[in-house]
C-alpha cells in the first residue's frame, strides 16, 4: 500500500471481511415461512386460520387414537377400561382381524393360502408394471399366476387349473399355427381348443393330486373378496375394453353394432342393478339345483360394467391420434392387427392411462357394493356380522376408519403408480 491517498481517505480496509451468514430473517425456516406462509396479509390470515383448524382436528382425534384400547373382549369392556376418558375401541380390530381380512367362514387353518396368493400377486404383477426393469422371463410366472392363485384360494385338486393352463397353452399354439391361414380361422381354432380344455378340466376334476382343502365361493369374504373382485375384474376388463373400443370403430356393421349396443346398454344401467340381476333374477332362470357360482356371476357383471367404461376411455385415446398415424401404418404395408399392435394402440393406450386408472380405482371401490347382495366383503362384514354381534354393536368410527384406510392405501398406491408410468412413457420433447 502506498501513502498517496493517506490524507484524503480516512480508513482503508486491508483484509477481506470473513463471510457472514445472511440475516436471520432471510434464511432457513424464517425465510421460507415469510415467503410461503406470511407473504401478504391475506396469506397470513389464511395461515393462522389453517393452523387453528388443524389444531382442533388434532386435539379431537389424537387423544382418541393414542388413548385407544387394543385389548378387550367387547365394547362394554372397552368402556370400562376407558372409564369415561376419550379413546377409540380398536380392540374390535384385533378381535375380528381375521374376519375383516378373510370373512367369517374361510377355514382359519388355511389363512396362509390367500395370504401367499396375495404376496405372489406382487411377484406376478411386477414384470407387467415395471416391464423396462425386470427380465421378460418373469412374465412366464405372470401367466401361471391366475391358475396358481385359483388353486391356492379355492383349494381342491390341482388338476383342473393345470388342465386349464395347458388348454390355454394349446390354444395359443393352435392360434399360432393357424395364423398364416388368416386371423379369423386362428381365433376360431384357438377358441375350439380352449373349450375342449374347459370341458376336460370339468370332467377330470375328481383326480386327487396335491389336494388342498376346498373352500366354497360363498365362504369368501372380507378384504380378500374386494381384492379378488378388484384384481380379476380390472385385469379382465382392460383387454375386453380394448376389443370393444376397436370393435366400435370397426367397419363391419354387425361387430360394430354389437359393441355399440353392449357399451351403451351397460353404461345406461347402474352397477347395483346388474348385481341384483346376478344374484336374484338369474336364480329364477337357472333350473333349481344348478350352482352357477355366485362369485363368477358377480365377476361377469362387474367386468362387463368396467369394460364398457374402459372401452369409452380407450375410444377417446384412439380418437385423439391424428389420422396420419393410421395412414402411416397403411403406407408401411402393415395389416390391421399389426398396425394396431405396433402403431396405434401403444400411443392410444398411453393417452388413456389416466382415464383407465380412474375407472380402475372407481371399480375397486365399487366392489363394496356386493355387500347389498349379502356377500360379506369388508364393508359387508362390518355392516353385518360385526356390528350385529352383541359384543361390538355400537363401534363405528374405528371399523369404518379401518376400512377407509385399507382402501386408501390401495387406491393411492395405484394412483401413484399410474403417475410414475405416465412419466416413464413420456416421449414428448416439451
Amino acid at each position: 500500500m502506498s501513502d498517496t491517498h493517506a490524507e484524503s481517505v480516512a480508513y482503508v480496509r486491508e483484509t477481506m471481511l470473513p463471510e457472514t451468514p445472511p440475516p436471520a430473517a432471510e434464511t432457513g425456516i424464517t425465510r421460507w415461512m415469510k415467503q410461503n406462509l406470511f407473504a401478504t396479509v391475506p396469506n397470513a390470515v389464511l395461515t393462522v386460520a389453517a393452523i387453528v383448524v388443524i389444531y382442533f382436528l388434532l386435539a379431537a382425534t389424537l387423544p382418541w387414537i393414542l388413548n385407544g384400547i387394543w385389548n378387550a373382549a367387547s365394547i362394554r369392556e372397552c368402556r370400562e377400561i376407558l372409564d369415561g376418558t376419550t379413546g377409540g375401541c380398536f380392540a374390535v380390530l384385533s378381535d375380528r382381524w381375521n374376519q375383516l381380512l378373510f370373512g367369517f367362514k374361510y377355514p382359519s387353518t388355511e389363512y396362509w393360502r390367500p395370504a401367499l396368493a396375495f404376496l405372489l400377486l406382487f411377484v406376478a404383477a411386477a414384470p407387467v408394471m415395471f416391464f423396462k426393469y425386470l427380465p421378460r422371463k418373469m412374465l412366464l410366472f405372470t401367466a401361471v399366476y391366475p391358475f396358481l392363485a385359483f388353486w391356492l384360494i379355492w383349494g381342491g385338486s390341482i388338476v383342473p387349473p393345470l388342465v386349464l393352463l395347458l388348454g390355454f397353452v394349446a390354444a395359443y399354439v393352435a392360434f399360432k399355427t393357424l395364423e398364416k391361414r388368416g386371423f379369423g380361422v386362428a381365433v376360431l381354432g384357438g377358441l375350439g381348443v380352449l373349450i375342449v380344455a374347459i370341458i376336460l378340466a370339468g370332467s377330470i376334476g375328481k383326480i386327487e393330486v396335491l389336494r388342498l382343502e376346498q373352500v366354497q365361493s360363498r365362504d369368501m369374504g372380507g378384504f380378500m373378496l374386494n381384492m379378488i373382485l378388484g384384481t380379476v375384474c380390472i385385469s379382465l376388463s382392460i383387454p375386453i375394453g380394448i376389443a370393444l373400443a376397436l370393435g366400435r370403430q370397426s367397419d363391419m356393421p354387425i361387430i360394430k353394432w354389437i359393441c355399440v349396443v353392449f357399451i351403451e346398454f351397460i353404461r345406461g344401467v347402474p352397477l347395483i342393478t346388474l348385481l341384483f340381476v346376478a344374484n336374484v333374477v338369474l336364480a329364477y332362470f337357472l333350473p333349481p339345483g344348478t350352482t352357477f357360482d355366485l362369485i363368477i356371476r358377480v365377476i361377469i357383471m362387474i367386468t362387463a360394467f368396467a369394460s364398457a367404461y374402459i372401452a369409452e376411455v380407450i375410444r377417446g385415446g384412439l380418437a385423439a391420434l391424428p389420422r396420419g398415424q393410421y395412414e402411416a401404418g397403411d403406407s408401411l404395408g402393415l395389416d390391421y392387427a399389426q398396425a394396431m399392435r405396433l402403431i396405434i394402440l401403444p400411443q392410444a393406450l398411453k393417452i388413456s392411462i389416466p382415464g383407465i386408472v380412474n375407472v380402475a380405482v372407481g371399480l375397486f371401490k365399487d366392489t363394496t357394493l356386493v355387500s347389498v347382495i349379502s356377500m360379506f366383503d369388508l364393508v359387508g362384514m362390518i355392516r353385518g356380522p360385526i356390528l350385529a354381534s352383541t359384543d361390538w354393536n355400537g363401534v363405528y368410527w374405528e371399523l369404518f376408519g379401518f376400512a377407509a384406510l385399507l382402501f386408501f392405501v390401495v387406491c393411492y398406491g395405484v394412483s401413484q403408480y399410474s403417475q410414475w408410468l405416465e412419466r416413464e412413457l413420456n416421449t414428448d420433447h416439451r
Binding site: 336364480a283 333349481p288 354381534s389 354393536n393
Partner: protein, 339 residues
C-alpha cells in the same frame, strides 16, 4: 313377443321350482344339511361370533329344525339374506326355510305364496327418547322430530299413529339401524322409532343406556316368525311342529338339562311322553324319528332357554318376556296340544 318369451321362461322356471319344492323334507335328508335363510346380522337374533359360528334367537330355530330332521344341530348351511333378497331366496328354492325376523302379514302369506308356520317373537313398534326430554308417553310427542327407517312398515305405522292422535311430527329419514343410532345420539332427532326389540338392542349398545327411555306405547303388531314355501305342507308341518315343540317344552317344564332323564323312560305326564316320543307315534306321522323333539329341544334348549340365552334379561340386550311369555304367565305363546 319378447315379453311373452320372458313370461314363458318365468312360468317354466316357476313350475320346475314348484316341482322341486314338493319334497323338501326328502331333499334335506338327501343333502344332509338344512339351508336356512337368516339375516346378514341382527343383534341377538342372528350373527356369527368371532369364530364364525352363527348364534342367536332365529339361528336357534334353524338349529332345532336341523336337529329334528337330521339329528345334528350343526348340519345347517346358513344363507345370509338381506331384506331385499330374502323372499326371492326362499321362492327360488335356494333356502328350505327362512328364519329372519320377518313380520307375518297378509300379503306376504297370501300374495307372495309363503307359509308362516308360527310366531317365535311378538314384536311391536315402539319409541325411544332421551330421558332429559322428560317425556313419559308417546302422546306427548306432538311436534317432535322422529328418526325413521325409510321403506319399512314402521314408517306407515308412525304416520297412522300420529294422524289418529292428531299430532304433527317431522320425519328424519335414515337408511340403516347403525345410521339411526348415530343420528339419534348426535341429536338429529328427538325420537327414534323401530321395533321394540331393535330399540332395546340399540339402547343396550349406548355408552349410557340409562339416559334413554323406551316409551310404554307400542303402536303396531309385528309378529315375527319362520316361513316356508307354499305347496309343501309336509315340510311346513315339520317346521311348524318343531317350533311348537320348543314352546310346548317350556310350558311342560322340559329343559335341555332334564330332557335326557325325561326321554329315557315314559313318565307320568302323557303329553310329555307323546312329545318326547316315549309314547305314541307323533314322529312317524311327521316322517321323522320318534325322538325328533328330544333332539330339537336338546339343540339349544326350549323356547325360554333360547330366549334367555340370546335376548333375555341376563344378556346385554335385556328384553323382558312381555308378550312372549307363555299363555300361563299372561303372554301370547300358546302351542297347540301334542296329541
Amino acid at each position: 313377443m319378447k315379453k311373452s318369451v320372458f313370461l314363458g321362461a318365468l312360468t317354466v322356471a316357476g313350475l320346475t321350482a314348484g316341482a322341486a319344492a314338493a319334497a323338501t323334507l326328502d331333499d334335506v335328508k338327501a343333502r344332509g344339511t338344512l339351508n336356512c335363510g337368516v339375516t346378514t346380522g341382527l343383534v341377538g337374533f342372528a350373527a356369527p361370533d368371532n369364530n364364525g359360528n352363527w348364534d342367536g334367537f332365529d339361528v336357534g330355530v334353524c338349529r332345532a329344525v336341523a336337529a329334528a330332521v337330521l339329528g345334528d344341530p350343526q348340519a345347517v348351511e346358513f344363507v345370509p339374506t338381506t331384506g331385499k333378497t330374502r323372499f326371492t331366496a326362499l321362492a327360488s328354492g335356494e333356502i328350505d326355510m327362512l328364519a329372519r325376523n320377518t313380520t307375518w302379514t297378509f300379503s306376504r302369506d297370501v300374495d307372495l305364496k309363503f307359509e308362516f308356520v308360527g310366531v317365535n317373537y311378538y314384536d311391536g313398534q315402539g319409541f325411544m327418547v332421551p330421558k332429559e326430554l322428560g317425556v313419559s308417553s308417546a302422546k306427548d310427542l306432538d311436534g317432535a322430530t322422529v328418526c325413521i327407517q325409510t321403506g319399512t312398515t314402521t314408517e306407515l305405522n308412525l304416520a297412522d299413529y300420529f294422524r289418529k292422535n292428531s299430532m304433527n311430527y317431522e320425519p328424519v329419514p335414515i337408511e340403516t339401524n347403525a345410521e339411526a343410532q348415530q343420528q339419534y345420539l348426535a341429536g338429529a332427532c328427538d325420537v327414534y322409532t323401530t321395533d321394540a326389540s331393535g330399540l332395546a338392542a340399540t339402547r343396550a349398545a349406548f355408552e349410557d343406556p340409562s339416559a334413554h327411555v323406551l316409551l310404554p306405547e307400542i303402536v303396531s303388531k309385528e309378529p315375527l316368525g319362520p316361513l316356508v314355501r307354499h305347496g309343501d305342507n309336509e315340510w311346513g308341518d315339520v317346521v311348524r311342529w318343531t317350533l311348537n315343540a320348543l314352546i310346548a317344552a317350556e310350558e311342560l317344564g322340559v329343559t335341555s338339562a332334564n330332557i335326557a332323564d325325561m326321554a329315557s323312560t315314559a313318565g307320568d305326564s302323557p303329553e310329555i311322553n307323546r312329545l318326547l316320543g316315549t309314547e305314541g307315534n307323533l314322529g312317524e306321522m311327521l316322517g321323522l324319528e320318534a325322538d325328533w323333539a328330544v333332539k330339537a329341544i336338546s339343540a339349544g334348549g326350549n323356547y325360554g332357554e333360547l330366549f334367555e340365552k340370546n335376548i333375555g334379561e341376563t344378556t346385554p340386550i335385556g328384553l323382558a318376556r312381555g308378550l312372549n311369555a307363555q299363555w300361563t304367565d299372561g303372554g301370547l305363546l300358546y302351542s297347540p296340544p301334542f296329541r
